[in-house]
Symmetry: C2
């Protein structure tokens, strides 16, 4: 397996289509057509549609994790500023896709975690990695005294991730980033505040 260009093309097209339509609604033939790759190549690189789906998740997670590191682990910026930057990037992405795709991992989590344990495990791992990034950022904030220490960072991280994913979902059905703004505003006004 030397020529990874074709494999990458397949994963790229797949990620795009799955983001837009979901996993079940995306046929292999549609993926093939959008990137002009014959079926033989597909089954040369992937053993099944599930295998392909997992590869799409893996690659998205890896590439997204890079962004996350840049946004959340930049020690030159105060931790709460980093979080705000993260939310701003999310809102911008929502605009760019016309409120249609949202978060690939969130979408697949909703669609597939009741359908396949393999997918559920893979998606769960991605979520947990994200939470860890939040945890580190929140620990920084607590160490600086920017936020109170009476909530454990892990619980706060879970709160932020779930709230944000829910806001993305709501933004999709509403076709507006308003829910994302509400979430962010209340979060910074009442949750991520110094000890009183």
């Amino acid at each position: 397996m030397k020529n990874t260009a074709t494999r990458d093309k397949l994963i790229d097209s797949g990620a795009q289509l799955i983001s837009q339509q979901g996993y079940n609604a995306t046929g292999i033939n549609a993926v093939l057509k959008t990137c002009g790759v014959p079926k033989g190549s597909f089954y040369h690189y992937f053993s099944s549609k599930e295998d392909f789906g997992l590869a799409v998740i893996e690659r998205f997670a890896a590439s997204y994790d890079e962004t996350l590191v840049v946004l959340l682990e930049d020690n030159d910026t105060p931790p709460l500023e980093r979080l705000k930057r993260y939310f701003a990037a999310g809102r911008e992405h929502m605009h760019e896709c016309d409120h249609a795709t949202g978060c690939l991992i969130g979408n697949l989590g909703q669609e597939l975690s009741g359908q396949s344990d393999t997918f559920r495990d893979a998606l769960n791992l991605v979520f947990q990695r994200w939470e860890q990034r939040f945890v580190r950022c929140l620990q920084d904030a607590q160490a600086r005294g920017d936020i109170a220490t009476h909530s454990v960072p892990e619980a706060l991280a879970s709160f932020i991730l779930t709230g944000w994913e829910g806001a993305i979902l709501r933004a999709k059905t509403l076709k507006s980033v308003e829910p994302m703004e509400h979430f962010e505003k209340i979060l910074f006004q009442q949750v991520l505040v110094p000890a009183t």
Copy 2:
């Protein structure tokens, strides 16, 4: 259209299967098989699968709204208690379905709002109705001085709904109600609090 028993059976089976597997993964034949209704009857009551899906949403929303009224508009119980009861009911349901189905409207919102505007509109309306129930409950709480008045109830309601939906999604991938508990705890500890 007098005999609604068959129609109801179809919608019931449909709601169950769609909750478990999603809309796209649920075939009409599967619905037919689980309730022993022939195809002719299906297309007698519904003009298409989409029409059927909308009927499933409508009926679920109507029945769920009844529960919501009982839980959230009971004036004999303090408003924040009503909200806690609502969350407790949600957690219980999550246990009952073994963390597999979650919220039908949330699932379909994620799966279909990028796929069909008709579905998106229908689901959005349901969400908005739910938010209104929260708004009324929060207004009661503000009137009693149980929570501060510096947040508009509409924004708070959006915050609660999105946070809760996100927690449900996360609970599904994690197979644990822990995210729902984290959300509830932080919400009542830091957001739904009296003016300081």
